[in-house]
Point group: C2
Chain length 504, copies 2
């Protein structure tokens, strides 16, 4: 039995992603509907499903409000009479309720939810509830796998006509641009490597931000294919194209709520990799008290899950637990981290960042059968020593439209502040990653590409009074002062024997 | 360190309850903000905190979109340049995250969340996550008590200058209008009883819907006070005034998600009662497989919680577990249930609805010290037998502006369908409450006040072939046909020995 009522339309001059219509609460009651109910709107031969917002003040009784895109769809203008009736609840809402009540989701249920997100049939309020329920109740490995496959099917699948596509992913949270070193290493050995990268969310710089210090990173999919055909590799910002739109919708809600349910994270990472065509994958899991993954046990559990789901997708995968307790390299900030990667490729030094890059590249080469077990690291390192990786990086930068070919071309920010040890000295036990990241961000990173922090000493080294501890860079004198002030209130250094009471 | 950027304003001609502004994602990134970040908008001397929505298409880069009320607040017109900067995350969002992570909330944290809901500083997306987290992780009794007190403080507190105010609440889900019988009973004994009532959400009729068949129910608080001064009692729809606006905001989200976390429900019920001034309260908890509370153990647990929180608010409270397995009385539908209540007050019969009303009234009278333990029921029943309760009900109806004084004045719906047993007979073991409710709603309840279902036999009675089983009423011939069709597909009767294969 369907109750239909007639209402006068009122069009609001804005568009909304989800087709929303607004009813007076008393009108909503007439058709047994409420906030977020689904209704069918009929006018002439036009028909549209809308999600309901209800209000006592937004529209008068007898009137229904439409956003511009819905009104256009329905060919409705102000004052036109439309008919509406309540639709039965969408199935995916019932499935979300199941997850809230800690029932496992079946494959078709997960697919239904993803389909409805894709078709804008779920509101942010409902999605928020789903993400929260996934966080609290967790997703089983089966559910994660369903979600991953559903995300892949809802997005584009890149096909380069290549048999082997190598890729790397980091769970993130640490500085040091492994991808800027590993991509040219792998690619210089003849492998196809389309590296899609994100920008910073809370770090000093994301891989896309760093690469942008060397070359443009925003490309459409056809542009990416062209670059790949030319060089076999690309390091592109994933925000310009949209391989997995549903995933991005979910991530938007996760960011807003500051939660990242593991089961969704696994599906999200691997769907992006599969969509980008990966056949071989190495995953870097930094483990540290300030990282996303806090301890070895959690890291191993996560690694096992990632490998299981990845295997089911036909991707050969290895996961590596890496040190997330100490800085990787010395730089925090887009240009500074990019310059560091270039310097390593130029063979100027071989630090823990270079080591980690070769370790991960080595695993990938072993996985792809290019190197015997235990020999991948040396093969990777050889591409640096021989200059092959640098040549490849220069080629990639050029293909992406960049003009940088050497670390020398990368200029410092306008303002710089050197920080010296004045009262304390000793052997460095550790740096506080969180404080260093905040310091770089206070100086202007990641928006200010040249802003950031450069450490002058590694862990294990000794600092004496008068020694330079670190340098802060910024293109804004104000921000540099703020950064200095922040540093005075937050000590980033731990000493093995003595405590630094004051810097400078 | 605050990053400020300048943008051109664009005003949308609609209002939003929460002050929202819309930024291009690239502009949001410039100030390190994202979806649902809080920003400060400055223009001249005007300043406003807005919640951010981000989009790639909604506004162009360099432009910020405002809804009309925010634009008015800021005195901003299209094209005006405004300055924005990111604000630190609100504390209540961090507290919501704590609840998601299953940490107990402190008193000040609960108060902060309620304050932010009250001041429209929390979005529906965030509230959805909070409600979901409360459902999955639960609230402790302490947290419920904090929430209850915070809701009370955020709303209006009614003060009638009376020492004793008696009240009754039902957890709901069952037919039979106890409040329409109990209120005049209590009030006829000289007690003050301002009964606030809700409309139906999923039942055939709410108490407010039923009372509306007898008299108007929508009153402002001053009007309610006036009626109370005249008669000592009122049965008013709680939707017209807004004692606990924050509670209603939360309930809107609960309905949208179809979840009702127990810890919030307890706070919600008791905050409304305390705000309405209750000093003595009886709570009816119907227990049944189709009720909100499914079994005796859950009911007892809930009762203990309600009494504990209630006690802390200074309300003397008893909870009664009642039969929610079988219909209470014979009617489903606003007018039909109202007429049934009137008939009981008129002394025409004394069924299980009358019995339950006197039981609950009796408990309340014992609680208030008017009757000795075990004598409340008889005192309540006496007010019916003596006609005192009916007189009081007539007085209440008149004071609320109604013209009904007898059940005889209540006229049937235009159309009626009588359903007879044609193939089956036997002793009735039970009625399916869910089917009866849906049947009444299919016939037009609660929107159609006269629509509904009247049972012709009680549980335990025998039906023979040719006997009338039930009657369906509707003011729409179409809806009546739909109801008949529904009934043909859904059997509401269970027999002790034989199964009814077909009705009519």
């Amino acid at each position: 039995m369907t109750i239909t009522i007639k209402l006068k339309a009122k069009v609001f001059d804005i568009t909304a992603e989800v087709p929303v219509s607004v009813l007076h609460e008393l009108d909503a009651r007439k058709i047994d509907a409420g906030y977020l109910s689904r209704i069918e709107v009929n006018v002439g031969k036009q028909k549209e499903t809308c999600i309901l917002d209800t209000s006592l003040t937004f529209v008068e009784e007898g009137t229904i409000g439409f956003f511009k895109n819905t009104a256009d769809q329905l060919k409705v203008k102000d004052g036109v009479i439309v008919e509406i009736n309540l639709l039965p609840p969408t199935k995916s809402i019932a499935y979300i309720t199941n997850k809230i009540k800690n029932k496992s989701l079946l494959k078709e249920e997960v697919y239904e939810i993803v389909k409805d997100i894709e078709e804008n049939k779920i509101t942010a309020v409902e999605l928020s509830s789903f993400v929260t329920a996934c966080y609290v109740n967790g997703l089983s490995l089966e559910e994660s796998t369903y979600l991953c496959n559903a995300l892949i099917e809802a997005g584009d699948l890149l096909d380069y006509g290549k048999k082997e596509i190598l890729d790397k992913h980091s769970i993130g949270g640490i500085n040091g641009r492994v991808s800027l070193i590993l991509t040219p290493i792998i690619s210089s050995l003849g492998y196809f490597m389309p590296k899609t990268a994100s920008r910073s969310i809370s770090s000093a710089a994301g891989t896309a931000d760093c690469m942008e210090a060397l070359a443009p990173v925003g490309f459409t999919l056809p542009e990416i294919k062209k670059i790949l055909e030319k060089t076999g590799a690309v390091i592109a910002w994933e925000g310009k194209f949209d391989l997995c739109p549903v995933d991005n919708t979910i991530i938007k809600i996760e960011h807003a709520l500051s939660i990242n349910p593991e089961g969704i994270m696994i599906a999200s990472i691997l769907s992006k990799k599969k969509s980008a065509g990966a056949t071989h994958l190495v995953i870097d899991i930094p483990v540290g008290s300030k990282m996303k993954v806090k301890d070895k046990e959690s890291a191993e559990r996560l690694a096992r899950k990632l490998i299981t789901v990845s295997k089911s997708l036909g991707i050969k995968t290895r996961a590596l637990l890496t040190d997330g307790e100490e800085p990787c390299g010395r730089a925090f900030g887009a240009m500074l981290e990019a310059r560091e990667a270039m310097r390593i490729l130029e063979g100027r030094y071989f630090d823990n960042l270079a080591n980690k890059s070769c370790l991960l590249a080595g695993e990938l080469l072993e996985l792809a059968g290019r190197a015997k077990e235990g020999e991948g690291f040396n093969l990777a390192k050889d591409t640096i020593t021989s200059g092959k990786a640098l040549l490849k990086m220069q080629e990639i930068i050029k293909a992406q439209g960049g003009v940088i070919s050497s670390s020398e071309q990368l200029k410092d920010a306008k303002f710089k502040k050197e920080i010296f040890a004045t009262t304390m000295e000793g052997k460095i036990e550790g740096w506080d990653m969180e404080i260093l990241t905040k310091l770089a961000r206070t100086a202007g990173a990641p928006e200010d590409k040249e802003a950031g922090v450069l450490l002058c000493r590694y862990v294990g080294e000794t600092i004496k009074k008068g020694d330079k501890v670190l340098e802060i860079y910024s293109n804004s004198q104000d921000k540099l002062s703020y950064a200095e002030k922040y540093l005075r209130e937050n000590y980033p250094l731990r000493f093995e024997s003595i405590i630094l009471e004051e810097i400078e």
